[in-house]
Every structure is written in C-alpha cells, then in structure tokens.
C-alpha cells in the first residue's frame, strides 16, 4: 500500500533539502527523515528505516529546556497531530550517536484535500 500522495511529495521535497526535515504519519510513526536530519539524529534513515512512536522516542529522547524527558503524548509531534495546529518548541535531543543536540522544532500537520489529516512535517533548526 503506497502512502498518501501528500506524504510522498513531502518526502521527495524533504530529500532535496539541506534543512533537516522529519515526516510522521497520523499514528506518530517516524516514516522518513532526510540526510540533514540524520546528522542531527546521529543515524541515517537508510540505517533506521521507519520507526513507530515508542521506537523513535527511545532511540532519541527529547528533553525540555529544564532537562526533563518529554513524554510521548506531550511531544511536539503528538501535540501537532492531536491538535491539528502547528507547534514550535525548543528541545534537546539525545541523538543516536550519543551526542546531545539542542534544536528548535517546528511541526505542522499535513491537511490534505477535504481537510483529511495525513501526518506531520517537522522542520528542525539547530540551536
């Protein structure tokens, strides 16, 4: 089963960008991240493949500005998907190469034709 066209085109767009981009489906699975995001996350997409929510949250936990781990339901991705509105937040990622990296993430939900929600796009700005 192929993914919705909105996500297919988002992936093709992301793959051409030097801006770090991650794509999520409506279940919160990380379905793609580009090479630039791979540098921040410490692994390449070709190495990890898609990861369901618990997998990516364990692989690279995010902390808030006070150093507390952000729970699955409070993550910017979960909030954007649940609310249908964009979310912007500064987090620290414990990357898969063991390095902690601070970044501001902007997550916006993908609303397709007829307002069907297809997932979310996360742009990452290294802080």
């Amino acid at each position: 089963m192929s993914r919705p066209l909105e996500l297919i085109l988002a992936r093709q767009w992301a793959a051409l960008l030097s801006t770090p981009v991650m794509l999520f489906d409506m279940e919160g699975s990380l379905i793609f991240f580009n090479e630039a995001a791979g540098l921040l996350l410490g692994r390449k997409y070709d190495e990890t493949g898609s990861m369901v929510g618990p997998e990516w949250q364990a692989a690279f936990p995010m902390e808030d500005e006070a150093g507390r781990v952000i729970g699955a339901t409070d993550s910017p991705v979960a909030t954007a998907i649940r609310s249908g509105s964009p979310v912007m937040r500064t987090v620290t990622v414990r990357a898969m190469d063991g390095v902690r990296r601070k970044a501001t993430v902007t997550v916006f939900p993908v609303h397709g034709l007829e307002r069907t929600r297809q997932g979310a796009v996360c742009l990452v700005h290294p802080a």
Binding site: S2, P4, L5, L9, L16
Partner: protein
C-alpha cells in the same frame, strides 16, 4: 480494431476514444494513434459501462452508448482542459431526465460542480450545468473505494499538478488501472522509489491492463520536470514495479506523429527485462479485451 485474451466470454472491454495528451492533434500524421484527447470506456460483459475522462474523444463515446441507457457514470481524473474539453459535447447530458453521475476531485476550496461550472458557463461555453436537461449528479472524490453497479472503483491522488486522481476498476475478476497523467518519478534522484513511496502503486498493483502516461521522450522530460508526465521507459519501469500484465502507453504528446509514437514506444518496450509485460501504444478506437 478489437483484440485481447478474454476467451471465456467474461471480462472487460476497453475502448479508447481519445489517447492524445494536452491538445487534440488531428491530421494526416496522427491517423493511426488518433488525435482526440483522453477518453476511455470500460464495459463489462453485462454491458455496464464506465467512462473515464471527458477529452474530445467523449463526443464519439457518448454516441456509442445504448439509446435506452438509464444511468451514465463519468469518472474524471482531473480538470485540466484536455480531460474535460469534450464534456459540453457529451450527448447524454442533453437527454432529458437521464441520470448522469460525474465523479472527480474537488479543490481545497471548491466542489467538483463549482469547478466544472467555470468551464461550462459563459464565456467559455453557452450552456450551464443547471440548464442541462439531464439530471447531473456531481460527486467529490479523492481517495476511497465505492461501487458502481458491478464495478468496484478505487481512486487516489497521484503525482500530477493540481488535484489529480488515478482510478482502479475491478469487475468480473479483471483489473483496469487508469493513470493518464502521472509523474511517479518526480523528485526521485535514482529511479523510481520503493512501492511504499510510489505514487499510484496501490491503484496499479497486479493490474491486468494499465493505461499509463507516456507523453515525453527522455530529452523532453529533462526540461519538463514537474509538469506531471512520464516517459515510455519510466512507464515500463512503473508497470514492472506494480506487476501489471499489460501496459498501454497513453497521453501521446500532440506534437508526436504516428511514426514517432511507434518508435519511442518500441524503444521503451525493448527496455523491459522483468516478467512478461505486454506493451503497446494506445490507439484511438482500439477495443481491448481484458
């Protein structure tokens, strides 16, 4: 010309009333593959017919429907001119009381009916939809599945500028997939993507007949990336990936002569290496048994 392999008396009949892309191209150089723009009729053994797209070929298709037909279903992939320009000349629309169902994509802000009204109204056309004597039912569809008589219909958005659908029609155990305008390679740096990320894959998977865009040559495509079309060679790759049994090269460029269509499609067919795919250029008025 009629040909095919459904020797059991069952199966689908696919008639090509328009195979050209972008602009009608009548003339002495296009008599073999035709000059009318996209229109295809798929009929099952019970005689039930679905019509795909309303290019200039639909004028003839409309005249081929039985006079006592009770209901007509027209599935539009998108509203670019070459796919709707024949609509005003579709005879069933002028049959009093006949139920004509139009299926196609809305935009993000306008319904299908509203979008069609932009063409079927002055100054582009003298007759408005609401003035037609038939009963016109417009259905907004994007991705989904539904039944029309004995046909199972599946639609999905596919890679082409503006909201564009592909269709998968199933009846009597046969599958026909219609992707007349499709650029599955858009943004891909190395060939076509894996099936999960391949536009149109689930519509075309295992199709007995795949009608697919093959408008540009390789050289033309280099300068037309993002215009929404495919090359015959990439259409072959796509057909291999979805494991289609038979591929019709469709949506011939209006500048292409019969000789050129024949040549570029033959060259593309020779690139087929996997499986037993049958390929040929779509020719107007051909009737194919599936």
């Amino acid at each position: 010309m009629s040909r095919g392999w459904n020797t059991d008396g069952k199966g689908l009949s696919v008639t090509l009333f328009g195979t050209r892309g972008s602009l009608p191209a009548p003339g002495p150089d296009t008599t073999r593959f035709g000059g009318n723009t996209s229109c295809v009729m798929v009929k099952n053994s019970a005689g039930q017919a679905l019509i795909l797209d309303a290019g200039s070929g639909i004028r003839i298709a409309g005249n081929r429907l039985p006079k006592d037909v009770k209901r007509v279903d027209l599935l539009l992939t998108h509203l670019h001119m070459d796919h709707i320009q024949g609509l005003g000349f579709f005879a069933p629309l002028y049959t009093p009381g006949l139920d004509v169902h139009l299926w196609g994509p809305p935009s993000t802000t306008r319904t299908l009916r509203s979008r069609l009204n932009r063409y079927l109204s002055p100054p582009l056309f003298p007759v408005r939809i609401r003035e037609l004597p038939s009963r016109v039912h417009c259905h907004d569809v994007t991705q989904g599945q539904w039944e029309i008589g004995d046909f199972k219909v599946r639609s999905s958005l596919v890679a082409h500028p503006d909201p564009t659908l592909g269709y998968r029609l199933e009846s009597e155990g046969r599958i026909v997939t219609y992707l007349p305008d499709h650029e599955p390679q858009l943004g891909c740096r190395t060939g076509l993507p894996t099936t999960e990320w391949l536009s149109g894959h689930h519509l075309a998977e295992g199709a007995d007949l795949l009608i697919h865009d093959a408008q540009y040559t390789e050289d033309e495509y280099l300068n037309r990336v993002g215009w929404g079309h495919c090359t015959p060679t990439l259409a072959v790759r796509f057909a291999e990936l979805v494991r289609a049994r038979r591929l019709l090269f469709f949506h011939h460029d209006p500048s292409r002569s019969d000789v050129e269509v024949e040549r570029i499609c033959a060259e593309a067919s020779r690139t087929h290496k996997q499986g037993m795919l049958v390929t040929e250029p779509a020719a107007e008025m051909d009737e194919i048994k599936v």
